[in-house]
Amino acid sequence: MFGPLVCKPGASRNNRTGSWRMESRPKFLKKDCIACNMCLLICPEACISGQGKNNYDADFDYCKGCGNCAWICPKKDIEMVKEGHNPTGVGLPTPIKEGPKSK
């Protein structure tokens, strides 16, 4: 029967949530950054990393494009840009095979 279900710590990183991003993605302008760390602290996906001025970046494998980092940036050094067509597929998860649609 079922025992306790145990998962590997941090295994959720296999789940690339970047494909959820529909409209916009953050663009780090890297001009006026004062390294206040606020974007990194509040990112709900924990996908922003960096240290020091003008050195922060988001991991688009996981970014859901919520826009909180752009809103909280005190220097407005992050802006949301329109999510474009992604021909190389970088940052997109492996496509899920679609089963027969039920109606």
Binding site: C7, G10, P44, C66
Partner: protein, 302 residues
């Protein structure tokens, strides 16, 4: 980024709870055991066979995180390891204030050395925005719909921090997603105190509150700045700190950011009732900057 709450969880974009959960666990550090109630946090962070957590994490039932954590804490005490390991029990507002209240009360009353964290998103978001005990007055939810005969939830918000405080526990605090450093400071302070601790964090839910995903921190900040969500700390039953607000904002500014209060904006009499709730909070906890001391005791802001 190195964190104990990893990317790839399935929370909605702009989720306030996932912001707060990461701040709490990163402040607590790796020597922590987390026990989780059922709720959004449990569902989106541990989609089998994946887990976002980098620490031992247990889920049993909807209501009994506090009870399971009591067992974990007793076992650690028996093994003589309690001093080096923190135990955190956590849940949403429904599992804390409604379903799990007796388990929580038992934990507080027995004096276990546990930090209980309630992520207060003000309704049962996981099952489709049904009202809970912590839903504020006049909120439009799926079980308290606003319409011709109703202006939403008819009951006021349950005063959970005060219920916890009435148990005479060493530390009770409220926090808000809008102030991340404040959350981390309070978690560290709570874990440095021995005994049962209760912490309630206001976490906006863009889906259930019908607010824009990029305004999560703004909505949380406005709740504090209007006086509707006072940030307070009780130590051994005494109010020792509160975040004072300057300037105080009218409640409309908070209400108009969210679709769940949209029906109130052309009803001045309802707005007045909500302003009264804010005013009574401001008076009760001394949130106005000019006031020197709150009714009980204490000094300074949080």
């Amino acid at each position: 980024m190195k964190t104990l709450f990893n990317s790839g969880h399935t929370a909605c974009a702009g989720c306030g709870q996932s912001m707060a959960a990461r701040l709490v666990i990163d402040a607590a550090g790796p020597n922590t055991i987390v026990v989780n109630n059922t709720g959004c946090l449990e569902v989106f962070s541990t989609k089998f066979p994946e887990s976002a957590w980098g620490v031992p994490w247990i889920h049993s039932l909807f209501e009994n995180a506090a009870a399971v954590a009591s067992g974990v804490e007793s076992a650690l005490t028996y093994l003589g390891k309690k001093d080096s390991i923190n135990v955190i029990a956590q849940g949403g507002d429904g599992s804390t204030a409604d379903i799990g209240l007796q388990a929580l009360s038992g934990m507080l009353e027995r004096g276990h050395d546990i930090l209980y964290v309630c992520y207060d998103n003000e309704a049962y978001m996981n099952t489709g925005v049904q009202r809970s005990g912590l839903t504020p007055f006049d909120t439009n939810t799926s079980t308290s719909p606003a319409g011709k005969q109703s202006t939403g939830n008819i009951r006021p918000k349950k005063p959970m921090p005060e219920i916890a405080n009435a148990h005479g526990i060493p530390y009770v605090a409220t926090a808000s997603t809008a102030f991340p450093q404040d959350i981390q400071r309070k978690v560290k302070k709570a874990l440095s105190i021995k005994g049962p601790k209760y912490m309630q964090i206001h976490v906006p839910c863009p889906l259930g509150w019908r607010s824009d995903t990029n305004l999560t921190t703004l909505v949380a900040r406005l709740a504090v700045e209007t006086g509707l969500y006072p940030l307070i700390e009780f130590e051994n039953g005494v109010l020792t700190a509160r975040r004072q607000i300057s300037p105080l904002k009218p409640v409309e500014e908070y209400l108009k950011t969210q679709g769940r209060f949209k029906h109130l904006l052309n009803k001045p009499e309802e707005l007045k009732k909500i302003q009264e709730i804010a005013d009574s909070n401001i008076k009760k906890y001394g949130l106005k900057v000019s006031e020197v001391t709150p009714p009980t005791a204490g000094s300074g802001g949080t």
